[in-house]
């Protein structure tokens, strides 16, 4: 097998790295164990070299830094241009992006400029016997998984769902840091950024929660969410939802799990009043333990559940809350700090 060069785009906004870049470094490291070769982290922005050490500790052999005031904040056209140039110089066989808002805007534009293939929202990546990338992509709301290949064009590009791959625990590794030359000032290159408005997350981020209590159409009304929130708080978890409650305005869109929402892999997922449409399931079916509560004994979610309860959540959850409270260690409160 030919030695490979795997590139990972490290997303950052305002100097804060998105976890998905670190997750992809972990995956790239795993893939490179098979084919040998190097893993590069592509980082664009302003004053970002402080991250190099961490990126090497998390699996990068080379950190390619494009440090320029023209690259902060993120703008699509300058980023495309710098990455296209870096790909021509460093010639990665594989180039991975997070399937984030930034990644799904940027990766397709870059793929078109490089005239290569790109697969979207991958749930898994493998190498075939020749070292070519196999990209597992959900389609049709997750009812189908396609394996995509890009046999002739390079780099083989993919966006990967955040939260699917595992970050490596930082270890002491050696690596090199290369500064990319950014000469253009990119003024007037596409839309002007007037303001980046960062909202403080008020609740436990879904993707980081060990426990997710998700509600669906079956919750019936906005008031029903209170008990879900109580249960989630008691278990130091987060509340999630399917699309209908989001469309009804019962919960914000940031809580949506599934193909057009978040992917979660908690230790415990509890689906309450959720029928189990495949669009939702694709975002939670890798949870360690799936518990489903639904009044309909034929609900599709029961087919993928470890524990099934046929019944009305209004009757099941109140005694469950009581039961959990009696088992909590003394002094423990219902509210938990979100993990860092």
């Amino acid at each position: 097998m030919k030695r490979q060069h795997i590139g990972v785009f490290i997303e950052q906004r305002g100097g804060v790295l998105h976890d998905v870049g670190l997750e992809l470094l972990g995956k790239a490291r795993e893939l490179i164990e098979v084919s040998k070769g190097t893993v590069s982290a592509f980082v664009l922005g302003r004053d970002i070299s402080t991250h190099s050490e961490d990126l090497i500790a998390r699996g990068a052999d080379t950190v390619l830094l494009a440090d320029s005031s023209a690259l902060e904040p993120y703008r699509l056209l300058p980023y495309t241009s710098v990455l296209a140039q870096a790909c021509k110089t460093y010639d990665p066989d594989i180039l991975l992006f997070g399937a984030t808002r930034m990644g799904i805007e940027l990766a397709p534009r870059l793929a078109a400029r490089l005239n290569t293939g790109l697969s979207a929202h991958c749930m898994d990546l493998r190498l075939d016997t020749e070292g070519k990338l196999l990209q597992m992509v959900p389609g049709w709301g997750g009812g189908v998984v396609a394996t995509i290949r890009c046999p002739l064009h390079r780099p083989q590009m993919a966006t990967v769902m955040p939260g699917v791959m595992k970050k490596l625990v930082p270890t002491k590794r050696s690596g090199e840091c290369i500064h990319l030359d950014v000469r253009e000032d990119f003024q007037g290159s596409g839309p002007k950024v007037l303001e980046v408005h960062i909202e403080e997350p008020e609740e436990m981020p879904l993707e980081k929660a060990d426990v997710v209590v998700a509600g669906g159409w079956g919750i019936g009304n906005p008031d029903g969410w209170t008990i879900l929130q109580d249960l989630a708080a008691l278990l130091c978890g987060a509340v999630g939802a399917t699309r209908p409650p989001v469309d009804e305005g019962w919960v914000p869109e940031s809580r949506m799990i599934g193909q057009s929402g978040k992917t979660v892999k908690p230790r415990l997922y509890m689906g309450i009043g959720i029928s189990g449409m495949s669009h939702h399931m694709v975002g939670m079916d890798e949870s360690e333990c799936i518990v489903a509560v639904n009044t309909n004994p034929n609900a599709a979610i029961f087919e993928v559940s470890d524990v099934a309860v046929v019944g009305d959540y209004r009757e099941i959850l109140p005694p469950l809350l009581k039961e959990i409270r009696t088992r909590l260690p003394e002094g423990r409160t219902d509210t938990c700090e979100p993990p860092q």
Partner: protein, 265 residues
Amino acid sequence: MKRMIVCVKPVPDPKAWDRLQMDPVSKTLIREGIPSIINPLDKHAVEAALEMKDLFGAEVVLLSMAPCDAYPVLREVLAMGADRAVLLSDKAFAGSDTLATSRILAQGIRNIGEFDLIFCGNFTLDGSTAQVPSQVAEFLDIPNVMHVCDMEIPNTQSLLLTQKIEQGTVKLEAKPPLLLSFTKDANKPRYISFMEILAAEKREIQTWDNANLNIDETLIGLKGSPTQMADLLLQSKQRKGIRLTGNPEEIARQLADKIHQLGII
């Protein structure tokens, strides 16, 4: 403003996706019997174009690459108030991945002629790749913005856009020519009246094949697609569920036991 082009796509109605079958030999999806609807987000793109038209006046042209049976869906979108539609349809287009599809759409846009703005839905329900907007813009060599959740139009020379990101929003100022793709928060698609449905019957739907577009056939369809499907699996559902029985208190106790076993409490 002279012209706005809105890319729209008929997609299989998600309500019928449970009927999706796969041909075990050819590994292709059997779509027969699954009705088509317009991709829901595309209606927001059409609405955005019509709002511009209401303000500044301009021709709104729908563009779609789809099989010929897409006419009824295009008629329905025309009834929202678009002026005409162009359908790109040719056997040579079949099997195109997003890169080849974007190349075909970009050529369709060039064939329509001058434009100020191109609007799309942020993603389609079927493939959900969300790759086509950025790729069409790249082929046309114009800027693009995805995830547009709000648009203000102070004048025809500049647009104020709000882009949704994970951590919040980004405010952008952009000038035509430009391609934008919209999320569902951007606007509320207008209600279609019966009169408009009748009026839409008279509006033109042109069909162009590759004789009209004249793209090198090695760059489109399966041949022109860098990505290939190696395998297709209908998702199997493997977990074997234990059904809890008893009165609510007994069920609650068993559930709490399970949560305890997982080490959560």
